[in-house]
Amino acid sequence: MPSPASIWVASARAVFTKDWRCELRSRYALNAIALFAVTTLVVTSAALGPAGTNKTLAINVLPAMLWLILLFAAAAGLPRAFVHEEESHTAIALRLAAPPSALFVGKLAFGVSLLLGIEALVAPLYLAVMSLEVASPGQLVIALVAGGYGLAVGSVLIAALASQARGRSTLFSVLAFPVLMPLLLIAIELTRNAVAGDPAGVALPQLLLYDGSVTIAGLMLFPAVWNP
């Protein structure tokens, strides 16, 4: 008889696998995210040119633009994790069959992997197209991973909330912006330091603290969101 803990892990893994299997077959969210990211990248490049050659712009402006692109991409693709379940009425079956915490962790893992995957595509493209040289690439990777996680966990949690209401996609942006704003600004600072070659400073622990707090808040609050 498998232990409750191993069943829980298997449940979370089942949700993760199912989401990816469905996603790879329909490619809806992947297309949406990739399209948004590439379009915004193209617009940025067309508007600013290879701005990375200008040192002031490289440090003050380009890190912020990168994170705006990632924010748009996240808003385009991550809400689907819950909105799609509600709209296609598969949420009913999930409510009855899935332990809420395992469901949340599974969806979170899906969102994080999706966003990190997009970052792996967008970040190198961005650096190349904008001619941006990064003094501490290792620090940039840390910023992208820790910041990307924060973006994903905030988005998935807010997506769960927004999926219970009408006007879900616009509502998502309204709800998510205030919640994600601190994360974005801290991540931008961390990225800026990586570009300039400055030490990460206090931004990294703050970012990790945000990630941890929102994850714990999500785990505690999700059952109340999901079930009456």
């Binding site: 801290i186 929102v214 109340a224």
Partner: protein, 225 residues
């Protein structure tokens, strides 16, 4: 509460409010450190801002009570009423604050720590109200908006981390917050405290009215007879 007592309390509140206004303009001195009579705005601005923060925390507390205190609609009505009244105080605080900032520092907006925090509160208030208006079913509305209020509370402290970043990038020297100076003069201190208490009482009175009127609406929907 009988009608007479209620009438008496309301009359008392009007009197105290009038007293605060008188005190702000005639009893307290105008702080010479500030331009002209402009420091008098602070007797109203600071309590308004303070009250909107009180409303913010009250909404979060009532949301928590709703979620973990038996799912009583009373608590959800209280949380929503706190936000609705809090918006009023927050908007007024922002307007009075930026007017004063224009006089004192030459610019309506500086992303000074206090200014940032009131914007954050208003952003979350707006999002909360937008969320509520998007859900027709009251049980779902109560549950989801309570969760959002708590998420807002978790995330709000992080804004204090980011404030130095904003001010550093736009202004090399952070703007000094001069409000601390008010604590020095006893008359000004008295009026400020009196005003803060009065505003708080005013808020809770408005909140009480709002919550009770919503309760009546809910009651008629439950039992139209």
């Amino acid at each position: 509460m009988t009608r007479t007592i209620s009438l008496g309390l309301r009359f008392g509140l009007w009197l105290v409010m009038a007293g605060c206004i008188w005190g702000a303009f005639f009893y307290a001195w105008s702080d010479p450190a500030f331009i002209g009579q402009s420091s008098r705005i602070l007797f109203f601005h600071v309590p308004m801002a303070w009250t909107s923060f009180v409303a913010y925390f009250a909404a979060a507390v009532w949301s928590a009570r709703y979620l973990w205190g038996g799912r009583r609609m009373r608590h959800d009505r209280a949380a929503a009423a706190a936000v609705e009244c809090g918006v009023l105080f927050g908007v007024l605080a922002t307007i009075t604050g930026s007017l004063w900032a224009r006089i004192e520092w030459g610019a309506y907006w500086n992303w000074d720590p206090r200014q940032t925090s009131i914007v954050v509160v208003l952003l979350f208030y707006g999002a909360y109200l937008a969320l509520r208006s998007a859900m027709a079913d009251r049980e779902i509305r109560a549950r989801i908006s309570s969760v959002y209020a708590l998420i807002a509370l978790v995330v709000t402290p992080f804004f204090y981390f980011i404030v130095p970043r904003i001010t550093e990038s736009l202004h090399p020297e952070p703007v000094i917050n001069a409000e601390r100076k008010l604590d020095v003069d006893p008359r000004m201190f008295q009026v400020l405290i009196a005003s803060a208490l009065t505003y708080t009482v005013l808020f809770f009175w408005m909140h009480n009215l709002r919550a009770r009127s919503q309760a009546l609406v809910d009651a008629t929907l439950d039992d139209p007879s």
